[in-house]
């Protein structure tokens, strides 16, 4: 049995004329499939009209004001980061420009010679420092544990500062709501 145009009339929102309405009624009396669908659709409409409208819990507007404040704070942080990023980009561009400007005056053999000379100078100064340290420790042996303790202390403080710096960077990156 053909269910058209009856199914179309059944599910469409368009009004149908009295003749079509009569034809639909006749079809519904004969066709069980369309009759069941028609009844089901009526039941759906009935259910929609009787279910309660869900409502938000009290204090919705206050929560919205809080969310708006958090959103603004987040936007502010984002602006700061964009500003820092902008500064970094400008500085990088300036450095790159300087590099490219000086690139035409770049002499490879001269630069290599300067590099080797600088490395040799640093090595010689380091060697001098070692010799001075050896002489001092020979003259005053007590200085060895003192300098060791001082060195370890200095390293610990540096490490603690580094951890603090890292944790503050991580907390700054976290969304505002997560931080509360």
């Amino acid at each position: 049995m053909s269910h058209q145009p009856f199914e179309k009339w059944l599910f469409s929102d368009e009004p149908i004329d009295p003749e079509e309405s009569e034809a639909l009624e006749v079809h519904l009396n004969q066709c069980e499939q369309c009759r069941e669908l028609s009844t089901a659709l009526d039941q759906v409409y009935e259910t929609i009209s009787t279910v309660k409208t869900p409502e938000p819990s009290p204090g919705f507007t206050q929560r919205w004001h809080q969310n708006l404040a958090a959103y603004r704070e987040k936007q502010q942080e984002r602006r700061i980061w964009f500003f820092i990023l902008g500064l970094f980009t400008i500085a990088s561009l300036i450095l790159l420009s300087l590099f490219f400007i000086n690139l035409s005056n770049f002499n490879e053999s001269y630069a290599l010679g300067r590099f080797i000379a600088n490395v040799s100078l640093i090595a010689a100064r380091f060697n001098n420092l070692l010799n001075i340290a050896r002489s001092i420790t020979r003259a005053f042996p007590i200085l060895i544990p003192v300098s060791l303790t001082f060195g370890v202390g200095l390293l610990s403080v540096s490490f603690a500062l580094m951890i603090t710096w890292f944790s503050s960077i991580i907390s700054l990156y976290q969304p505002v709501q997560e931080r509360g």
Partner: protein, 198 residues
């Protein structure tokens, strides 16, 4: 839109948060209701409704005063919920996890009536959940918010004929799903709903 609402919008555009707060107070129920029907639970509905109002506040300058403010807000909420529903499809959602509101309240004055009401609530939510996100939004706006097809088309960025076709398809799907659910029910449960004459 009332004169009062127009004034609140005007003030909000000048940066008055409390004026927009009045609009939130005024429209929280329809926006929350749409989000609830789209997402199926209070927690997600609350988050979606809050986010919709934040977005509305952000984009208030783009609001065309010739359009209905309510429809504009529902449009923002519907788009947000459609996105959320699409994202959510990647994760499995159990149908056993019923929203807190529809768990039976034993202290209700008429527990049986309350139970029937909750049963209807679960039924309609399950039926609506089976629709595609855009069809779901169209049906919710049409039947729970009584929006016209033109308003739905504006809200969902569709043509009027596309809305008609989506509503047609959604009605058909709802009726078929309802029928399948009824047929899958045990016989004694079905009889309880039938007329005593049969």
């Amino acid at each position: 839109m009332s004169e009062q609402e127009a004034l609140w919008i005007q003030k909000a555009l000048q940066g008055d948060d409390h004026a927009f707060g009045n609009l939130v107070e005024e429209y929280q129920k329809p926006v929350f209701s749409l989000c609830y029907r789209m997402l199926g639970n209070s927690k997600d509905a609350e988050d979606a409704a809050q986010e919709s109002f934040i977005r509305a506040y952000r984009y208030l300058k783009k609001y065309d005063t010739n359009r209905s403010f309510a429809t504009w807000l529902l449009s923002i909420a519907a788009h947000y919920c459609i996105d959320q529903t699409r994202k959510r499809r990647l994760t499995t959602v159990s149908t056993d996890s019923l929203p807190a509101e529809i768990i039976s309240d034993r202290n209700a004055p008429n527990p049986e009536r309350e139970y029937r009401q909750q049963e209807k609530e679960v039924l309609i939510q399950n039926l609506v959940d089976e629709l595609s996100p855009t069809d779901r939004a169209a049906i919710i706006m049409r039947y729970w918010h009584e929006c016209s097809e033109v308003e739905i088309s504006q809200a969902l960025d569709l043509t009027v004929s596309a809305v008609k076709s989506r509503l047609y398809r959604a009605r058909q799907a709802l009726a078929k799903s309802y029928l399948e659910l009824e047929k899958s029910k045990p016989l004694n449960e079905r009889r309880a709903h039938e007329s005593p004459a049969f």
